[in-house]
Amino acid sequence: MYTAPEGHEPSHRGSTIGDDPNCGGSGSSLIRGRASAPDGAARAIDLPASGFLIADSTRCADCRVCEMVCSLVHEGRVIPSLARLTVERDAFIDDHANVRVCRQCLGPECLLACPRGAISAHAATGARVVDADLCDGCGACVKACHFGMIHVAPHPRLAFKCDLCDGEPHCVAHCPQQVLSYRRRRPR
């Protein structure tokens, strides 16, 4: 079982990533062998998110409630362009909308790419979260993410991404079509 390390501020000083054999799943192979990844990465891998979102797009009715609720919770107003998940549908091509959510990767490229160590694993949920005090909006994380699930907001320039709402995602609670679910990882 994982025990939380003392202090959660990621540092830039590299140490070798532990290639924990228990740490399977997406991304782990990307990490292994990278010589100078920051501590934060080690911690993120050590601290897999306790859960992650799953979207069954085939059920999606394109109502956008998830985007609206997400932005309302995180921004205090309804602004879907700053939602932490995205819903896209071309009415003339797509059978159903495509719902994209952050996977809370075991080897989070966003976290690894951040030159300021502003992305870390949340102490309670392990969600990969952005520290607004450290982020300078450089966008390295946006380039690094394979899934397009981290973005930089214009005013103020800050990266934003899904933080799993402290383990009780509002998008899941409000989705009327049961597209979204919050899957808990089995404890190791």
Binding site: R59, R77, D90, A91, D95, H174, P176
Partner: protein, 631 residues
């Protein structure tokens, strides 16, 4: 902090190509949607203005809740002088779903006021606080799907585009404005108004915000509202046209074979549209309107029939027609054919061939105004006049479609007053009031009718509609208060931007009490806007807007006591119906007149003329329009 409204309106003059913005604040007493649009129209447009005059305004207006997750708040309203009304065109609202309204709010506008007329085809593009008119020469003649796809590719794939098809370009009086594959403003002929202004399309993309006064309270209210219409263990009965299939029968196999998903308007938990991929037809989605084509009795039954219906539906949407226009038009053509009034040569239609081909040929004819379609594009009452002779007796007097046999006023006391009242407050027809009046408790009640005690039905009816006899088809009594209340609700829904089909479900389908959670709407409204109100307060707003609409109709010569009564087809007073519960099988004109007077009194209108009283305007906080009362 307050929220909801964007605070700005976009004003576009197509003649001068000038685009300006102006504040929304001074109209807020009329909420949004129909209310604000009607207020602007009353202020600015001469009542005698024709629907195709450049001076006619076409107003697209959202409500304060549009763009928020409030359940069913995704509807916006088009408003202006509609070419459909007969003999006198009148101002009407016609709402549209999809994401058009929400996207407009995110772009920073509560509404768009479109006046004037362009000499050459143009389209309006609105994006994040800016707007421009662009040349649409290359789009003119395209169908609504092609137009939208072109603009989405050209500008932004995430935009919302609404467009007219050939029918609107050719000023078909029932032409629709189509958004997506199946969202439409379909019953007021605003596609033709756009066509008269040479406005081919309008597209909107916004990445901005809608402010919310109390986010936590809104989230709680959204949950509370959604729970009325949705339950995890019982997927909503209307989702994905399943309700339609159930209502019309025989659709199960079609749905099982061709359904690929469901589709909702912005913020709607019900998702009434089904997405179908049928070989030979383009991908499409549509809600309960499309199976009405099953009214085409000659279509084959079973899956083949449904495929034909779907095919017609997609064609209707692409051509920018109204589906009722085509199915009613088909019935009319068959009556003309059987009466020997038309033949294949004079009509240019395959009258004796496969009915599926006839319906499609008719749709093309109407959209392009060829052959018989040229006069049918004027709407049935005008077409009947043009054809003359016996054709006049084959349509109802004001030309609103008569939908189902059960809606015949002679067999149904509710429907006796509704079409009349539907015309009082100029709406599409009695049917649209039914959306609240009947739909509100019709759905929750009809599904459980067999297990409910009569006393429970009466209690629910009385609480929602104010009179226990409101749904009793065997009497004209007890309808006035119900109609007055339904009309306030309807106006309110169209002004806030709620769906008039689902809104009533907000107060009831899955609620513990079938009469529903009547405070949930006020809770949503207060949480978003910061304006504290309750259900009574909201209904007073609805009453204010209904009175404004009444005043507008009177100024435009559409309403008077006599005209209200004439909205019913003359035959319901003369020709007996064998299944009628009324003495003699006809509607009792004196009894209807008495109920009408009672309704006027309840509304605070002059019982003899139906004109709102000055004291009523004062009571409703409408002194600002008192100078518009007829002398």
């Amino acid at each position: 902090m307050s929220g909801g409204w964007a605070g700005r309106l976009l004003r576009v003059d197509l003649t001068t190509r000038r685009i300006v913005t102006e504040p929304t604040d001074r109209y807020l007493a009329y909420v949004g949607g129909t209310g604000i649009a009607a207020r602007i129209y009353l202020d600015e447009v001469d009542p005698g203005t024709g629907p195709f005059d450049p001076a006619n305004l076409l107003i697209l207006m959202t409500g304060p809740l549009a763009g928020t997750p409030s359940p069913t708040s995704g509807r916006a309203t088009f408003y202006g002088k509609s070419p459909v009304g007969h003999p006198d065109p009148v101002c009407r609202p016609s709402s549209i779903g999809g994401s058009l309204g929400a996207e407009l709010k995110y772009a920073g506008f509560d509404g768009v006021i479109i006046g004037g007329a362009s000499l050459t085809p143009v389209y309006l593009w609105v994006q994040d606080g800016a707007a421009e008119l662009r040349d649409a020469a290359d789009l003119w003649g395209l169908d609504t799907f092609e137009t939208q796809r072109t603009l989405l590719r050209r500008h932004d794939r995430r935009a919302a585009v609404a467009s007219i098809g050939p029918s609107g370009e050719n000023l078909g009086r029932l032409a629709a404005i189509v958004h997506g594959t199946g969202f439409a403003s379909g019953l007021s002929g605003f596609g033709a108004v756009m066509g008269s202004k040479k406005l081919k399309a309008l597209g909107v993309r916004g990445t901005g915000a809608v402010d919310v006064a109390d986010p936590a309270r809104l989230l709680a209210a959204v949950r509370r509202g959604t729970e009325q219409v949705y339950r995890a263990d019982d997927p909503p009965r209307m989702t994905g046209s399943r309700g339609s299939g159930r209502a019309y029968g025989g659709a199960e196999e079609f749905v099982a074979r061709y359904s690929v998903g469901v589709l909702a308007c912005h913020a709607c938990p019900v998702a009434c549209q089904g997405v179908f991929r049928v070989p030979g037809s383009p991908l499409g989605a549509d809600s309960c309107a499309w199976p009405h084509a099953l009214g085409v009795a000659e279509f084959p039954r079973g899956v083949e029939g449904w495929k034909a219906v779907w095919d017609v539906n997609t064609l209707v949407n692409r051509l920018g027609l109204s589906s009722y226009e085509v199915t009613e038009g088909y019935a009319f053509v068959v009556r003309l054919r059987d009466a020997g009034l038309i033949d294949e040569q004079s009509s240019g239609l395959p009258l004796r061939g496969d009915p599926r081909e006839l319906v499609k040929a008719l749709a093309h004819q109407i959209a392009h105004r060829r052959g018989l379609g040229d006069c049918l594009a004027e709407g049935l009452p005008r077409a009947a006049e043009q054809i003359g002779g016996a054709a006049r007796h084959l349509v109802s007097s004001r030309g609103w479609p008569i939908l189902l046999p059960s809606d015949d006023a002679r067999t149904n006391g509710t429907m006796a007053l509704l079409p009349t009242v539907g015309a009082f407050v100029p709406y599409n027809d009695g049917w649209s009031l039914w959306g609240y009046y009947g739909g509100s408790i019709h759905l929750p009640l009809s599904d459980r009718r067999e297990t409910l005690a009569a006393a429970e039905i009466a209690r629910v009816t009385e609480r929602v509609l104010g009179d226990a006899r409101a749904l009793d088809a065997s009497t004209l009594g007890g309808k006035a208060e119900a109609v007055r209340r339904a009309q306030s609700y309807r106006m309110l829904a169209d002004s806030i931007g709620f769906c008039t089909w689902v809104l009533p479900l907000d107060c009831g389908y899955y609620a513990g009490d079938l009469a529903g959670d009547e405070e949930v709407l006020a809770e949503l409204y207060s949480a978003v806007t910061g304006v504290e109100t309750d259900q009574g307060g909201l209904l007073r707003l609805g009453e204010r807007i209904a009175t404004l609409q009444r005043l507008q109709g009177i100024r435009q010569g559409y309403h008077s006591r006599e005209k209200d009564l004439s909205a019913l087809d003359a035959k319901v007073f003369g020709e007996p119906h064998s299944e009628s519960p009324f003495p003699g099988g006809v509607v009792d004109l004196a009894g209807l007149g008495a109920e009408l007077e009672r309704y006027y009194e309840l509304c605070g209108w002059d019982a003899r003329t139906g004109v709102p009283l000055a004291s009523t305007l004062h009571r409703l906080g409408m002194d600002d329009v008192a100078d518009r009362l007829p002398a």
